[in-house]
């Protein structure tokens, strides 16, 4: 085998390399020109994947959705938004946080009037809840229990996870609701982070860690808690009296008609019913199944705290943000 090829082989190498590069180029052309006339590229954050598994076939069963094919991409909210800004094709985006859509408005991909509809651009609501072990062995009923000595709290890293930002603002806003001053509320956050034993990169990773046996309490979306309970995980969850209303935005990107129709469908009563089934609070009234969600007495929105734009600057600025400072002060004291 070796002797017969000794002369031929060397010449083949450049040829082989060139043909491989050509193959690369062909693959490139093939993938860029793909796409049938009626297709929707959905780029979304991680948590609603389970819901879309049901929503997409339901849409395809409607008149508007007939024959529409889908491509789907799920990942961390911020990263997904950045990918779309960097050229990932999307007709519909569904993110955890409003600023992730605003990034695309800035990039000229989403219309500035994207939130000028009846639901202000939101497709699902939820609330921040506290997931505890079955039987609630540490008797956690609200935010004040999370800062007790010996309680181990899990929340994802607020600098990598959209859900963690909701958690921080829920805890902070709840203190204001209870009549504390902003300074006292910040002290609370400091005490809370003192009890945080792990800051996973995403809500899903935090949940993995919690299910692996670590921690007494996990701050998370209500829909995630409902989904886990349904799956039979040995957990239960507490809705604090004062908590934040989580609002997840959706927007059509570019001019795809099918994309716009899909967004419309997702806001329609039948779709909202599916969302509710999957643990999300509907954004429109009169949806059957909405009654199973108790409304906390002290529910507040991010806008009541000043809106994401202000909050991001004030709390999560990499150098000067309140949360950055808290992590630093705790870090300097615990690092030694």
């Amino acid at each position: 085998m070796f002797s017969t090829q000794k002369v031929i082989m060397p010449k083949r190498i450049p040829v082989l390399a060139l043909s491989l590069i050509a193959a690369l180029g062909l693959a490139a052309c093939g993938s860029s020109s793909g796409g049938a006339s009626k297709s929707v590229s959905l780029v979304a954050y991680s948590t609603p994947q389970g819901a879309f598994e049901k929503l997409i076939p339901a849409f395809q069963a409607t008149a508007a959705g007939k024959g529409v094919s889908f491509s789907q991409s799920y990942g961390p909210s911020g990263e997904q938004s950045r990918s779309v800004a960097n050229g990932l094709h999307a007709d519909v985006v569904n993110f955890s946080l409003e600023p992730d859509v605003e990034k695309l408005v800035k990039a000229g991909l989403v219309s500035p009037s994207w939130n000028q509809n009846a639901t202000h651009g939101f497709v699902t609501n939820s609330v921040a809840v506290i997931i505890v072990r079955k039987g609630n062995p540490k008797h956690i009923t609200g935010w004040s229990d999370l800062i007790k000595p010996g309680v181990q709290v899990l929340t994802p890293n607020p600098f990598t996870s959209g859900s963690a930002r909701w958690n921080v603002m829920a805890a902070y806003g709840a203190q204001l609701k209870e009549g504390k001053t902003p300074a006292q509320a910040q002290e609370y956050l400091k005490a809370l982070f003192h009890n945080v034993v792990s800051q996973d990169s995403s809500a899903r990773n935090a949940l993995q860690t919690f299910l692996a046996g670590r921690g007494d309490a996990l701050i998370d979306y209500e829909d995630e808690a409902i989904a886990d309970e349904k799956k039979g995980a040995a957990i239960e969850y507490v809705i604090p009296k004062d908590t934040i209303l989580i609002q997840n935005p959706i927007a059509a990107v570019g001019g795809s008609a099918a994309g716009k129709q899909f967004v419309e469908y997702l806001l329609s009563p039948p779709a909202q019913e599916i969302w509710a089934e999957k643990g999300y609070r509907p954004v429109i009234t009169g949806v059957p199944g909405a009654s199973k969600f108790p409304t906390p007495t002290g529910l507040f929105t991010i806008d009541s705290l000043g809106g994401w734009k202000t909050i991001t600057k004030q709390f999560f600025e990499p150098e000067t943000g309140i949360v950055t400072k808290i992590e630093q002060s705790l870090g300097v004291s615990t690092a030694k």
Partner: protein
């Protein structure tokens, strides 16, 4: 691998002072005994280390995969997205690994045999892809080849989409597995020396002939390990590929991305099954490379 005579150093005669007074026979027996003890000690330490760090995790993956029997595994394997991810992974590996192998052998020869200015700098450059976090590799590829990147406009004019499609994923995979063949081949090349090649050329062989008949057989184990490691790393890459892929299900989802997707959705069997498939692919590569090397060099003494 090849079967060397067991532990030559381990069995080498030890003529230490305390053995001087003994007779030759008992001395030899004592030597053999202490060598045997040393060999067993080495083996125990090495295997104990591997058991804790490697065998236990691997065993656990297999256990978790099959703990609910075969039918969930079968379902996981036959899921369309899993199958697509499998073939995409194969496709990417089939492009990236040969490219890196050719590059690696060439670069190893250049770095080991060449004499030119900036050689050490070039050597350092080769290792860079390891030192950069895969996530940052992905990010920097987007900075160059993405829509708003340095070459973004030019690529768009040519109608080539690199980022968020297969070419970008191939590039990301090639980057993170770039150094292996170079680094595995260089020490062997150094060990081999140039005597045999020079002899071949003195006897009238062309440079290419000398390379194919003398150098390549001489460095084949280095290349084999290089290819095996490149393939393994290319198969398992997540971070960089994740960023440049756009993670479109059934389109730009490789097996590791699929594993992540399954974990995120608490489909534990699906995730572990895909992981086992990746492990088996890596083992198959090792096996194939072994067979290939053996057949190509049958009769050559190791």
């Amino acid at each position: 691998m090849s079967s060397n005579p067991a532990g030559v150093v381990g069995f080498s005669p030890a003529s230490s002072g305390r053995q001087l007074g003994r007779g030759p026979a008992s001395e030899a027996a004592a030597r053999a005994k202490s060598a045997r003890r040393r060999q067993l000690g080495f083996r125990a330490i090495a295997l104990g280390y591997l058991a804790l760090l490697l065998l236990a995790p691997v065993a656990m993956i297999f256990y978790r995969t099959f703990e609910h029997g075969l039918s969930p595994v079968w379902n996981a394997v036959s899921a369309p997205n899993a199958q697509h991810a499998f073939w995409l992974s194969i496709e990417i590996v089939a492009i990236a690994v040969p490219l890196n192998t050719i590059f690696g052998i060439g670069m190893a020869l250049l770095l080991e045999r060449g004499r030119f200015w900036g050689k050490s700098a070039l050597g350092l450059l080769i290792d860079l892809p390891f030192a950069i976090s895969p996530v940052v590799v992905g990010l920097s590829l987007v900075l160059v080849y993405g829509k708003t990147g340095w070459l973004g406009d030019w690529l768009a004019e040519q109608g080539i989409q690199v980022i968020f499609s297969v070419p970008g994923m191939v590039i990301a995979t090639a980057v993170v597995s770039l150094p292996f063949v170079v680094r595995e081949t260089m020490p062997v090349l150094r060990e081999l020396g140039t005597d045999a090649e020079q002899a071949a050329e003195t006897l009238g062989a062309s440079a290419w002939q000398a390379f194919w008949r003398v150098t390549l057989p001489g460095i084949r184990w280095g290349v084999v390990y290089g290819v095996v490691l490149t393939t393994a790393r290319a198969l398992g890459e997540f971070g960089a590929v994740s960023i440049v892929s756009g993670r479109i299900e059934g389109q730009t989802q490789t097996l590791p991305l699929y594993v992540q997707d399954r974990f995120e959705n608490f489909d534990i069997t699906g995730a572990y099954t895909a992981a086992v498939v990746l492990a088996l692919l890596a083992l198959a590569t090792l096996l194939a490379m072994n067979l290939l090397t053996r057949r190509a060099h049958r009769g050559t003494a190791i």
